[in-house]
């Protein structure tokens, strides 16, 4: 096994006449947490779909090692199954595809949902449902987690708690993570590396590394300065002179 579970070489992709990516190359290291940010509609989700193998690129090569698991935005749980049954789906592809009591207990403890194994998703809050999704993705022992704006449907405070939980879960069960988000702060708080995409056809505007250990506070200077840099890259930062005028 190489140290690069995922790589893209000169990948272009289009839906009919509309080009989504042009000549995109990137490599993701084992155990790395990569966040992808960019304007809405720039093809972040398409990129995840290419990485997961759900879509085939129009041209270029995608290399994938080991299993990947997708965590969806919301409502990716089957509402007719209990928490236990939903998590058990994560093991479906394995030969010994049975969720043992011990495994289930560990996972529920990990996401702090002990005692909820027989609940149905509609009986849980949005944050709890996303935690179950995460547990399901972790259950299969896949090496790579592809997360498609997993916290975007939650309110801000729940989102902060979910970020903290994700960091804790990843220290206990290390995974390679590709995390798509429109939330720049979230990217700066969580990721080792942040890829900033342009509008369509998307190309890499810049690649930032955040060298601070996790967990990081959203007000940590490194996080704040990363947010500033990304806003600059996306042309979203109010210039100093405009701020002065407001005063």
């Amino acid at each position: 096994m190489s140290d690069k579970p995922l790589s893209l070489e000169h990948v272009s992709h289009s839906f009919g006449a509309s080009k989504v990516f042009e000549d995109l190359s990137l490599e993701i290291e084992r155990g790395e947490f990569v966040a992808i940010v960019g304007p809405s509609g720039c093809g972040k989700t398409t990129l995840l779909n290419l990485l997961s193998g759900y879509l085939r690129p129009t041209s270029g090569v995608i290399r994938r090692e080991g299993a990947t698991r997708m965590v969806y935005q919301s409502d990716g749980l089957f509402p007719w199954l209990t928490v236990r049954e939903n998590i058990a789906l994560g093991l479906r592809h394995l030969k010994e595809g049975k969720l043992s009591e011990a495994q289930l207990k560990d996972l529920l403890e990990l996401i702090r949902l002990e005692g909820f194994s027989e609940h149905y998703p509609h009986q849980l809050s949005g944050g709890m449902r996303q935690r179950v999704e995460l547990a399901r993705a972790l259950a299969g022992e896949a090496d790579v987690l592809l997360m498609d704006e997993p916290f975007s449907s939650l309110d801000y405070q729940t989102r902060l708690r979910m970020r903290r939980m994700l960091v804790r879960v990843l220290t206990e069960r290390p995974r390679t993570v590709v995390f798509v988000t429109h939330d720049i702060e979230e990217a700066a708080q969580l990721a080792d590396r942040i890829l900033v995409l342009s509008e369509r056809p998307a190309h890499l505007i810049s690649e930032l590394r955040v060298q601070v250990e996790r967990p990081r506070d959203p007000t940590h200077p490194a996080v704040v300065s990363t947010v500033k840099t990304i806003l600059d890259e996306l042309g979203l930062r109010e210039s100093a002179s405009e701020l002065a005028e407001v005063k």
Binding site: Y54, F78, W80, L89, Y120, H122
Partner: protein, 257 residues
């Protein structure tokens, strides 16, 4: 306190309304708004029931009607669900068949009565046929709509976790449409119960529809009302029975969003 008020609401209040209704009925028959032969008193109906219980005829009619409704309805469900699933997934088949399904759905099932008798004579078969025609097309449409409403993320997740073919159908598609199917079953079972009465009036030799038609021909309006009461009660019970399906834990989500 709360339990007491719910007791009042579920039993005492409806019972009170029923008593008022019966009193009104008794008053109307006493002052003879309609001639006595056309308007039985509540007491006449009680005697009517006693007679029906003694002869056992109403019971036989009830069994006959329930049998026909079950046959026609089960046949419609068993055939409509696969067809609806097929049409829900195959756009070409849907384009080809949907107008026809809509046409037959809009056609009153009672319009089939002449053909039902010409083809199947009198008895169980024409009535079963009419119940089938009354429910099959609505059910097909309900299944198509339910399939169209399945969020695409379920199919993505299903693909991620290796559901394909029959296991996809059994573990994802069917549970995803189950709440809407149960609602459609309730509606169409109600329709089936309406249709059986009309169908038996014309194409039956027995059954509740035939019983009230026969009572009218014999000018036994007391027995006619007995039949009406049984038809109404069974209709309500039928729906209560199907409501139970909505309480299954694996479909509750469909009603609580």
């Amino acid at each position: 306190m709360k339990e007491k008020s719910s007791l009042v609401r579920t039993y005492i209040l409806p019972l009170g309304v029923a008593l008022i209704f019966i009193a009104l009925w008794a008053a109307l028959s006493a002052i003879q708004v309609f001639p006595k032969s056309a308007f039985p008193s509540p007491l006449d109906v009680v005697y009517g029931f006693r007679e029906e219980i003694r002869t056992g005829r109403l019971w036989d009619d009830l069994v006959a009607s329930l049998f026909r409704v079950s046959m026609g309805f089960v046949l419609a469900v068993v055939l409509s669900v696969p067809l609806g699933l097929l049409l829900g997934h195959a756009a070409a088949a849907r384009a080809a068949l949907l107008p026809a399904v809509n046409f037959f759905r809009s056609l009153s099932p009672l319009a089939w009565i002449p053909f039902a008798i010409l083809w199947f004579g009198v008895g169980d078969l024409p009535v079963v046929f009419l119940i089938f025609m009354a429910t099959f097309f609505s059910l097909v449409l309900a299944v198509i709509a339910a399939v169209a409403n399945i969020p695409s993320v379920y199919f993505r997740v299903a693909a991620d976790y290796g559901f394909r073919g029959w296991s996809l159908l059994w573990n994802v598609t069917l549970p995803a449409i189950m709440p809407q199917i149960i609602t459609a079953l309730r509606v169409t079972a109600g329709v089936a119960w309406l249709v059986v009465v009309a169908a038996e009036m014309i194409a039956g030799r027995d059954g509740l529809g035939f019983a009230i038609w026969d009572a009218r021909n014999g000018l036994r309006t007391d027995l006619l009302v007995c039949g009406m009461i049984v038809i109404g009660i069974i209709g309500v019970l039928l729906d209560r029975l199907l409501v139970r399906l909505t309480r299954l834990p694996s479909v509750r989500w469909g009603y609580e969003r």
